[in-house]
Symmetry: C2
Subunit: 313 residues, 2 copies
Amino acid sequence: MIQIFTMKNCILLFLLISFTNASGQQKTIQERLGYPKKTKLLIIHADDLGVSHSENMASIHAMEKGVVSSASIMVPCPWFPEIAAYAKSHPDADLGLHLTLTSEWKLYKWGPVTPHDKVSSLLDERGYLNETTGAFLKKAKPEDVEKELRSQIERAKQFGIDPTHFDGHMAAPISSPDFLQILLKLGREYKVPVHVGKQFSQLFGFDFGKYITEKDIDVDRTIMASGADYKRGLDNFYTEQIKSLQPGLNVLLLHAAYDNEEMQAVTVQYVDFGATWRQHDVNFFTSEKCKKLLADEKIKVITWREVRDKIIR
Amino acid sequence: MIQIFTMKNCILLFLLISFTNASGQQKTIQERLGYPKKTKLLIIHADDLGVSHSENMASIHAMEKGVVSSASIMVPCPWFPEIAAYAKSHPDADLGLHLTLTSEWKLYKWGPVTPHDKVSSLLDERGYLNETTGAFLKKAKPEDVEKELRSQIERAKQFGIDPTHFDGHMAAPISSPDFLQILLKLGREYKVPVHVGKQFSQLFGFDFGKYITEKDIDVDRTIMASGADYKRGLDNFYTEQIKSLQPGLNVLLLHAAYDNEEMQAVTVQYVDFGATWRQHDVNFFTSEKCKKLLADEKIKVITWREVRDKIIR
């Protein structure tokens, strides 16, 4: 018997498992997707598509030749039309929107999709989106955030993209309760799963779980390498993460680009998430070692489209 | 005796030689700059700075190591902050503004600097600047052109650039009498010489000379390779042009970029002004052959700054 799940206490706020199985227990997301309860599901996800030609080419390579199963696109970026053309000619590619409220690099910038004067609280003093999530948080008005996120979604649709999911670049769209609620509302409206990433709850000092309802998708664990992990070696980090993966819906975030002149110039002055880091990500997630590891650990790699089409739509 | 020159007939409209010498004859621009009348002056000018990292790096190389004496910057482009930082740290570099009202490449786009809804007549249906000068001409309103050109100039100033000259990307800012008058007015207002390029008069079907006054700078000849010249070989074209150069103020326009992945992707689907063409330009204008040719032909290579500071300011 399938019933609507009723939340009973605060701990349950973290759950978005909304159905019960025949024995009355809540169904896991694995079960709702048609897998046994013990299945270790993993979405291997490349962020930042559209930011540069290098990022586009390397991400496509990592999806077509490697194990990367999903990726998301930054609509305000200069190379958005290139990845949009790819999305249109590859309708099976699992591409969502990496909703973007910041422009982080030093010498290579973009502004909002909305006319600048309609979202002035999102801009730095030069008319670009702010460089950091901190600067964004200081003055962004929720109405401007909603306007800009809608503009990005509508532009993507205009370019023929039917996004498989939404997520937020540099966590800016989930950095306050107001913004998170806007993002979740847009996900429900466009019938697209939103990847929130609960690990950011602590960083921004509020409980994401409070806003995730049974209509949304709650990822069990989001994995992303930190600067410290990079220093210790990304190969080791990813290997450990894959070996210790638990049953449930897991998302591993990476950033694929070639370590070439363009990407070195985009990421100039940065070590973290720089060109070399991104090349490491390409290398690992297109390696035979990684493929074997996933098989050995019996990890089921899935896409956001599968989640969207089986649960949301 | 120096007198203010009074125009007497239509032919003289083409002239902007505004002073007479001791014998009562009009002074040539060479003489006004302090050179003998027979001097062959040449500004060797790279267009399109800011469009890509490749273009920025190759243009800087061609200026620092080659004979390129001047260049102009596209303010709305993504890599504008990179070349603006160079301009700020190299105050002697001869850098003007390549005022931009089009966004010509297929998969890599930019919009206006002004808020989009304030210059809607300049936009394509996706909110970018139009792809061609033809599409721009069909619907651009003069008030929007003026707003956008002012926005670009003001943003350049905000980034610390003191432009040595103005010119127009893809000739859009000189493609109608209204637009040309706006461009010339802005040049006078900011005390910056405007490079008009009289050879475009025929293309746009109106007489540029009618609008060039004694307050402006009239270049005797503008040289730029066409698609046909490219097919016959750029080396031959530039060699012939340099060998046949006449006394007066000449401007040679080129486009310097490296034939690398980034530039190939920017110019994808284009042969004319594509990555290979731009690499040829770099090669020729950094070659010993070119340096020797300029010396053999007794050509005096000058900058727009010299023109600006000796005549306009």
